[in-house]
């Protein structure tokens, strides 16, 4: 009996409980397989009894029951005859059928109790075909144990949660119900057949008011609650429960303090108490009905019941109701909360969970705003809550601490948290004067008021000395919650948070109010109390349980304040991470804690990044790169303008890490060494480096606040600086952050592994596209050299290599780089063309025709599409043709009512409908000048608001974590990197490479998947494989940005339009929406179709104002030629001394002037030297 070796569930089935078989008798099946191989072990025994089976096949279930008496006799013998043979499920089922018919016999009863029912319990579910027999047993049998089993099995049939209506309960899987088909020739009994009958029976029993029957009544009621998912049953259950309570709850029932549940009292009151218990317990399992006064009334009555479990359930119900309607609950509780009331009695109730529920109830009511006008009620509940801080049970005390700290199960509110910290550090517990000690001075002296903080600290410190792991875990969790409240208090700047003040002064103040005084002599400050607690917390890191350690580290992270040095915490984490016992899930949990900590105190961005770096270097194989990236991103955003550089540095540190040294165990606690001693870790480290490189490329522009669409430097300046050294010098002096990122990426592009190099090249392209000059040209030069393999030779003398053979082809990036270079080439050549065109127009003094503008706009759109293939750019602001194209593009857009975000593929534009719509599509002015550039960029790139929290998997994880949710099952295979949900780099590379090829093919086409006017389009661009799907990026929320970025785009558009002073006239022109739209060729419109060079300055750029208006506007100055001047080029103009001219603008010592009459050369306007003209 005592020997358990080789015993399995199978043995149980095969055994006769009265005499244990030899251990090895049936140990043919290994125990490991026993619950996984359901039917096979039983096949033999089933065939052994085929004669009986065949007989029963012909009978229906009812017939079996009626004929069962004779069959039962045979069946009863089965186990005795075949002691060593396993008993099949079929046999057991049949035994029940048969024994049910003879349940009046002692032998049958014994058989059921000792043999059939216990063995049946081993099967993990109960099939409905047993129900008729069970019901019959319930009706006919008197044996209490059999009846108890009957209720147990009936309750297990009722819930409809399993795949086939089964509720698995461990043990051996129940064979398919078909195995029982041989009993019932009709085709088996289904749930639908038996459940109504079971419910009927149980309902009848639950309403049976016979006092002798009340134990069964309670069990019937309990079993019924398992069917409460069905609305009809729920209704019926409410009726039964309230029916019982109507009868038993109103009777005054004096509680006998201290003897709850103990024997005693008269029979009637005990039965009443039992029924009260049964009804309240059932009610607890039913959905709450907030707002129903009867429901509340009954629940509140339960608080005074004599059964302790009933009291607990009542309190639990009431505490939940109190969170919804605290006022009603407080009113209903009324006198119960007063000294001597039932709630005070709960303090002495033995049931721990009842006191926990009391703490929650007190918390809900004492913090209710709706009770602000009843401070007396609030004070009563607050006092009760504070008394629970003295509770001997850690569970209750900790719950009370959490309540004081303002933690709530729902979303935490910062204000409530902050207030919680204030309460904890300031308020005192005044022990209520117990009636018995009222007159004794000594006792009242001993119960002097105590500061909550001191009380709590003492309690926590003693808990941390406990040997129980759950207690340590819980205590660390409480400290963590304390840290959260403290952080909230600091972030809100709650009044008087000074932690250096003597806390005793608060208690003294309070005591003085009471007319007493107390002086402890020593000075206790919140800071000193906390320091002493944290000392104890730190020692707990020595606990052998990794989960306790994790909780302690979380607590330390939360208690870390921005001002304190974090070196100790950092080294502690570093040494902890060296322990292989840490699972990936736990490590990621701590990363998420860093997130949460950052959200509470953005000032800690840099500190937290430093800590996150430890994870990246110590356990690269275990952490989720997505979560780490999200942390980088949130910290980057939160670091503010000043911290951006530092935040980006923290990311780049990952790139500077030396390659892992296999087998090296030196410097185990050094945080600057990479621990990737096995191939898996090395691979993970590489993935992390890839992620960092990608992150850098994607976010460097944000960190450096450098955007092409805001670059002040005209392209010409940069082109003149082709000397590489000068360029680099200029670049780094102008924007060290960007230059730094650029340098690191360049380094990665030739010394990393091939995978890293590819990402680095892509990151550089992204930066080239997004940055203005001279960065773009710098990157272009670098990529160009890289493509030709020239760079490697330049750097070869640096001897920096990870030891990998980089191949004969140099970088091996040629095929990847060519489309990237092509984009940049296209952009530069298009810019050159534009400059040429503009010069020609200026020289020829020609106005831009609509066709020319159209061509220009098409080029703009085409390049925009092309660029979008590589990375996200804000479409409304990005100018692939350079800043000089802005005005021309704007003119064309305005004229044809093309919205900047949708471009040419807007159906309204394509079909010409947009031409008909004027004011309706006009963007409303949104005060573009008031918008901070950085804000616009952040907004446009999806940083602000919900842009940061888009639907990337990591963000879900963070959100879930922050919300305190997450009960989903843990992943056991956390060591298996490939099983992690995040997409592997290999997959992404496959896609990336494919799409690069596509991008190459699609160069000339403006349509395709890159079109940003479809939500999914940007996702398919190369960078969004990283940004949109896997890696959080400042630019990653393209779809949502596109969907929601209209205001910014509008502002961008209007900002571009603003310098053109004539926009108002354009608006005026188009304003009456009901007006017949003028024909496209109408002379009025034609005036606007051609115009003078808008780039020629403020005066001439009013493209949409009429020439006459311009001349009368006073912007144009008149002048007189002082000397004769002979034109030296096409753009120059001949002058005769004394000739009158209109000066349009000045450029580089030249006036662009217009004559009133054309000269002999036929030219009317052109450039003349400033000195040749006197301005009048």
């Amino acid at each position: 009996m005592a020997d358990s070796s080789g015993t399995t569930l199978m043995d149980l089935i095969s055994s006769d409980p009265t005499s244990a078989p030899p251990p090895s008798s049936t140990s043919t099946q290994s125990s490991t397989a026993s619950h996984q191989r359901p039917a096979s072990p039983f096949s033999k025994p089933v065939t052994a009894t085929t004669t009986t089976d065949r007989k029963s096949k012909r009978s229906t279930l009812m017939q079996i029951q009626s004929d069962a008496v004779s069959a039962a006799r045979a069946a009863v013998r089965i186990p005795h005859k075949h002691k060593k043979k396993p008993v099949s499920y079929t046999q057991l089922a049949r035994s029940i059928h048969e024994l049910a018919a003879s349940s009046d016999q002692k032998k049958s009863q014994r058989q059921l109790v000792h043999h059939v029912f216990p063995k049946l319990a081993v099967y993990n579910s109960v099939d409905p075909s047993l129900a008729p027999s069970l019901l019959m047993l319930g009706q006919q049998c008197e044996d209490r144990t059999i009846l108890r089993y009957v209720y147990y099995y009936l309750a297990r049939i009722l819930p409809d949660t399993g795949a086939q209506g089964l509720t698995p309960g461990g043990g051996i899987p129940t064979p398919n119900w078909d195995a029982l088909a041989d009993i019932d020739a009709v085709g088996g009994v289904t749930r639908a057949d038996v459940v109504p009958r079971i419910l009927d029976r149980l309902s009848t029993e639950a309403t049976n008011s016979d006092p002798e029957f009340h134990a069964r009544r309670l069990q019937a009621l309990k079993a019924l609650t398992y069917a409460s998912d069905s609305p009809e049953i729920l209704q019926k259950l409410y009726e039964i429960v309230f029916g019982i309570l109507d009868k038993v709850a109103d009777t005054p029932d004096k509680r006998k303090k201290g003897i709850f549940g103990a024997k005693g009292g008269d029979k009637e009151s005990i039965i009443r108490s039992n029924l009260q218990y049964g009804a309240i317990s059932a009610l607890r399992r039913l959905p709450l009905d907030p707002g129903n006064p009867i429901f509340l009334h009954r629940a509140v009555q339960g608080v005074s019941f004599s059964d302790p479990v009933a009291v607990r359930h009542s309190l639990e119900i009431v505490s939940v109701l109190a969170t919804k309607d605290p006022y009603a609950v407080a009113m209903a509780l009324g006198k119960l909360a007063q000294p001597g009331g039932a709630l005070q009695d709960v303090l002495h109730l033995h049931d721990v969970l009842a006191r926990v529920a009391l703490a929650r109830l007190c918390h809900a009511i004492s913090r209710a705003k709706s009770l602000d006008e009843r401070p007396d009620i609030k004070a009563q509940f607050t006092s009760l809550l504070y008394q629970l801080l003295l509770d001997p049970s850690d569970r209750v005390c900790f719950e009370a601490i959490l309540c004081v700290l303002g933690k709530s199960d729902a979303a935490d509110r910062t204000e409530e948290r902050a207030l919680g910290w204030y309460r904890l550090t300031r308020e005192v517990l005044k022990a209520p004067e117990a009636p018995s000690v009222k007159d004794k001075d000594k006792s009242s002296k001993a119960r002097r008021p105590q500061l909550l903080i001191k009380l709590v600290m003492r309690r926590l410190e003693s808990s941390f000395r406990s040997f129980s792991r759950p207690v340590l875990h819980a205590a660390a969790r409480v400290v963590q919650e304390m840290g959260k409240s403290r952080a909230a208090a600091f972030s809100l700047g709650v009044h008087e948070i000074d932690e250096g003040g003597d806390v005793n002064t608060f208690s003294e103040n309070n005591e003085q109010e009471d007319g007493k005084s107390q002086h402890e002599g020593n000075k206790d400050t919140v800071a000193s109390l906390l320091a002493s607690l944290m000392e104890v917390v730190r020692t707990t890191v020595a606990c052998e349980c990794v989960y306790v350690r994790a909780m302690v580290i979380k607590a330390l992270i939360w208690m870390q304040s921005p001002q304190e040095t974090f070196a100790e915490l950092e080294s502690m984490i570093a040494s902890e991470l060296s322990d292989p016992a840490w699972s990936a899930a736990l490590l990621n949990d701590i990363l998420l804690t860093l997130h949460a900590r950052f959200k509470a105190t953005p000032d800690m961005a840099v500190t937290l990044l430093e800590i996150a770096r430890v994870f990246a270097t110590k356990v690269p194989g275990k952490i989720d790169a997505d979560v780490l990236q999200l942390l980088w991103k949130t910290c980057l955003v939160g670091a503010g303008p000043d911290g951006k550089h530092t935040a980006l540095e923290a990311v780049t540190i990952v790139l500077d890490l030396p390659p892992p040294q296999p087998g090296s165990m030196s410097g185990l606690t050094s945080i600057d060494r990479v621990f990737a001693t096995d191939p898996k870790s090395a691979l993970a480290l590489q993935r992390l480096v890839q992620a960092a490189v990608w992150f850098l490329g994607e976010n460097a522009n944000y960190a450096a606040s450098e955007y092409a669409w805001e670059s002040a430097t005209p392209p010409g300046t940069a082109l003149m600086m082709l000397d590489a050294d000068k360029m680099v010098a200029a670049a780094s002096s102008r924007n060290p952050t960007l230059a730094n990122a650029l340098t690191r990426l360049q380094r990665c592009a030739f010394i990393g592994s091939w995978e890293v190099r590819i990402i680095a090249a892509q990151a550089l392209t992204t930066m080239a596209i997004r940055s203005g000059e001279p960065y773009r040209i710098q990157i272009y030069e670098f990529l160009h050299a890289l493509a030709q393999g020239g760079v490697q030779s330049q750097f070869s003398d640096m001897h920096i290599s990870n030891g990998e053979d980089q191949g004969a082809s140099g970088t091996g990036l040629g095929s990847l780089l060519s489309p990237m270079l092509k984009v940049l080439d296209d952009m530069y050549s298009a810019q050159d063309d534009l400059i040429k065109d503009m010069r020609n127009h200026d020289n020829a003094q020609k106005e831009w025709t609509d066709d020319e503008l159209k061509k220009l706009y098409e080029t703009h759109e085409r390049l925009l599409d092309l660029v979008s293939l590589f990375c996200y750019v804000p479409r409304s602001k990005y100018l692939p043709l350079g800043p000089t194209s802005a005005k021309l593009i704007d003119i064309y857009r305005n004229r044809h009512n093309i919205t900047a975000s949708s471009g040419m593929r807007d159906p309204a534009v394509a079909t010409g409908i947009s031409e008909l719509i004027y004011e309706a599509t006009k963007p409303a002015p949104v005060e573009p000048d008031n918008l901070d550039d950085d804000l616009v960029n952040a907004w446009a790139t999806g940083l602000a608001d919900d842009g940061l929290w888009n639907n990337a998997p990591a963000m879900n994880r963070v959100n879930e974590f922050l919300a305190g949710a997450g009960t989903d099952a843990p992943d056991v295979d956390d060591e298996n990197i490939t099983s992690r949900p995040s997409m592997s780099y290999e997959d992404m590379w496959a896609k990336t490479l494919l799409e690069t090829a596509e991008a190459d093919d699609d160069d000339g086409r403006s349509s395709g998947s890159s079109s940003p006017d479809s939500v999914g389009s940007v996702e398919t661009s190369i960078s969004s494989h990283f940004g949109g799907m896997n890696y959080p990026s400042l630019f990653s929320s393209k779809p949502s940005t596109y969907g929601s970025s209209q205001p910014v785009e509008k502002s961008g558009t209007s900002r571009h339009r603003k310098p053109s002073g004539g926009s108002n006239s354009y608006e005026g022109y188009g304003s009456p929406i009901t007006e017949e739209p003028p024909p496209y060729s109408s002379p009025v419109h034609q005036r606007y179709e051609s115009f003078e060079n808008p780039l020629a300055g403020q005066g001439s750029s009013s493209f949409d104002s009429h020439e006459e208006e311009r001349s009368s506007s006073g912007n144009v100055q008149s002048g007189t030629a002082l000397y004769d001047f002979t034109a030296g080029g096409d753009d120059e103009l001949n002058l005769t001394a004394g000739e009158e001219v209109e000066i349009e603008y000045e450029v580089d010592g030249w006036f662009y002037v217009k004559k009133k009459r054309a000269g002999r050369d036929g030219k009317l306007a052109g450039l003349v030297p400033v000195l040749y003209v006197s301005q009048s």
Binding site: S4, P168, G170, G171, G261, N274, E316, V356, A965, D968
Partner: protein
């Protein structure tokens, strides 16, 4: 909510499981997670010495009793300390039924009665009865308080 009560033998075979409010597709994960937890941490642990773990906002308390491992999973008010209370009730009930810390054989012999006890201790995901005598009475279909 007391999400799960799981009892396994020392090899990790599940003898009893009671899930409450856990979706069917997650149960398999929980089973393997708990079994792995036990395999990693329960070696050399004394009878009824409590171990703790957590996953997101879910707490796990587990222990060894004789030759069986007992795991309790809970969330919200069923935190690690409430689970410790609950696991104490479960272990006492099993010890009561078996008369001592059970071997797997003994546990299986008393399987039916253990199931009935468990039914009285945990009812639809909430801890119900904690008093030993009361559980004993209820298992015999006697009223919770006798007269």
């Amino acid at each position: 909510m007391l999400l799960a009560v799981l009892i396994t033998n020392s090899e990790g075979n599940i003898l009893v499981e009671r899930f409450n409010g856990v979706p069917g597709e997650e149960r398999l994960h929980w089973r393997s997670f708990l079994v792995k937890l036990g395999a990693d941490n329960l070696k050399g642990v004394k009878n009824e010495e409590l171990c703790v773990a957590s996953h997101k906002s879910v707490y796990i308390v587990y222990t060894v009793l004789g030759h069986v491992n007992i795991y309790l999973v809970g969330k919200d008010e069923y935190d690690e300390l409430a689970l410790s209370e609950a696991i104490f009730v479960v272990t006492s009930a099993i010890k009561d039924v078996c008369g001592k810390p059970p071997t797997e054989r003994l546990f299986l012999d008393k399987y039916g009665r253990i199931c009935l006890c468990l039914d009285e201790i945990v009812w639809k995901g909430l801890l119900e009865n904690t008093d030993k005598d009361r559980i004993k009475r209820l298992v015999r279909l006697k009223p919770p308080t006798e007269f």
